[in-house]
């Protein structure tokens, strides 16, 4: 097994460390709380000459993603970082990056969207751009954020789709944890040398990129993009397999925690999954058959696999740390419901909207959700959508 270095790092420091080891050709970024540190620390590496990266300090996130698109189109390995309003300001360019099939990697720290203005964690920002055509990977802690960043480079460049790796604002981004850092050379070997297929600075094979694409070609290009997203799934799994073989930490499309023999399941993404695991251990000690399904990859959504994993449950609670303003369920819950429907699985399924604007989610609240589920499994009617932790 490859040697590792055990250190104490925050989520932001861990992501910046991964970026140092990846040593991309270009990073174009604009600071925003709580993601600022990622590119701030990385800018320090550039200033100190420990990376070869061209750092482009731009005037907005729209410009940051525009510069990343230019750099990636030119043939450079390109990364950036942002959060919340910054991600929203990038939105237009995120769709363009994906449509042009540019393998940019973005470190995104989940933070809510204004208004009301708030700098704390929820998943509204990442959910807002879920249709942009980027692979979306959620991390539970700093270790996963670090590991996901390294894997993201290979996923993006193999599947030729851009990848967003997220952490939870402040909870992961500013919380210091014990993490294992890989050897510089091992990371270099794992991500490999970037060999773009078509790029603008290749004078031996001239190409035009991003031409006007009207009624006669746009649909075909979009169909290709849909296929590329689908095909990224095996790439994500292959990359995870190789990562596990080399470095010993296993990843999949989602993680199951004590789920296989469970009757009551919570589905939750990001840092809340860690809290749920503690609650599960406590409830298991009391004899409750409870488990967790933690989606790691939200795009492409692992529909069949998740439905398969949940089919044996008596009741399921889907935890949404954002509300899609549909007037009913949150975005993760809608995905899960669609997945179960297509498999003909009709289970008691309740949705909990929680943690908006960084409202903390406590162990007793998660335990209460499991108790609601136990009641639901016994036939007690439940609200379709519940707002966990909001004052009435």
């Amino acid at each position: 097994m490859a040697k590792t270095n055990i250190v104490a790092k925050t989520g932001n420091e861990a992501m910046a460390e991964a970026m140092r080891q990846i040593n991309p050709d270009v990073v174009a970024a604009y600071p925003i709380t709580p993601a600022t540190e990622i590119v701030q620390i990385f800018a320090g590496y550039v200033a100190d000459g420990v990376v070869d990266t061209e750092f482009v300090p731009v005037e907005s996130e729209h410009s940051a993603m525009s510069a990343c698109i230019g750099s990636s189109a030119a043939g450079g390995r390109t990364m950036t970082g942002t959060s919340s309003q910054g991600l929203a300001l990038m939105a237009e360019m995120l769709f363009i990056a994906a449509g042009l099939r540019l393998p940019i990697v973005l470190a995104d720290v989940n933070r809510t969207l204004s208004s009301p203005i708030n700098i704390h964690c929820d998943h509204s920002d990442t959910m807002m751009i879920r249709d942009a055509g980027w692979v979306q990977i959620f991390s539970e802690n700093a270790q996963e954020a670090y590991d996901n960043m390294i894997q993201a480079v290979r996923i993006a460049e193999t599947a030729r789709v851009p990848v967003i790796v997220t952490t939870d604002g402040f909870i992961i981004s500013h919380g210091m944890e014990r993490i294992e850092i890989l050897d510089d050379q091992e990371v270099k070997k794992f991500v490999g040398e970037y060999k773009p297929k078509d790029y603008l600075l290749n004078f031996d094979k001239i190409v035009t990129l991003g031409a006007l694409d009207l009624t006669d070609y746009y649909f075909e290009h979009k169909r290709q993009q849909i296929e590329a997203l689908r095909n990224s799934k095996p790439v994500i799994l292959d990359t995870a397999k190789d990562f596990a073989e080399k470095f010993g930490r296993s990843y999949g499309l989602f993680e199951k925690y004590k789920l296989d023999d469970a009757e009551l399941a919570i589905v939750a993404m990001g840092s809340t999954a860690g809290t749920a695991k503690v609650a599960i251990d406590e409830l298991r000690d009391k004899g409750m058959k409870v488990g967790l399904l933690k989606p790691r990859v939200f795009r492409p959504f692992p529909k069949e696999e998740i439905a398969e994993a949940l089919k044996g449950m008596k009741a399921i609670a889907v935890m949404d740390r954002s509300d899609a303003m549909t007037g009913h369920e949150g975005p993760l819950c809608l995905e899960i419901k669609a997945a179960l429907y297509d498999k003909g699985i009709n289970k008691t399924l309740v949705n909990y909207i929680y943690g908006l604007g960084g409202r903390e989610i406590r162990l007793d609240e998660i335990e209460a959700v499991y108790k609601d589920l136990a009641d639901a499994a016994r036939g007690k009617p439940q609200e379709n959508v519940n707002y966990l932790g909001v004052r009435e």
């Binding site: 078509d198 190409v207 290709q224």
Partner: protein
């Protein structure tokens, strides 16, 4: 339906809106929606090539340092050539496309 068959489908089309090769604008005929066309008056032209410099579509055809006519496949009829022509009385005048067509057969490419 015929058009759908002759154009490449999503499985064969180059990915990511990539068009292979350079200079592909040459193949895209932009002259067909022109409403006005420049008419060349050779006896007035002093061959200063100001029109050649200003033309945004490289549609001024020049041979041996002299203007010989216009590339009507690509001229969009913007009229910058006429505006910039320094000759008194102009060596280029813009005419309505439908009126200009008969006189212009020898002025351009076709």
């Amino acid at each position: 339906m015929i058009e759908k068959k002759t154009k490449p489908g999503w499985k064969t089309l180059p990915e990511g809106d990539v068009i292979a090769g350079g200079g592909t604008a040459q193949e895209f005929k932009t002259g067909d929606w022109r409403s006005k066309r420049p008419i060349f008056i050779p006896e007035k032209c002093i061959h200063c090539l100001t029109c050649w410099v200003y033309c945004p579509d490289s549609a001024i055809m020049v041979k041996d340092g002299k203007v010989i006519g216009y590339d009507y496949d690509h001229c969009k009829g913007c009229g910058i050539c006429e505006h910039e022509c320094p000759v008194k009385g102009k060596a280029i005048t813009m005419s309505l496309e439908r009126e200009a067509k008969p006189e212009c057969k020898e002025g351009g490419k076709k």
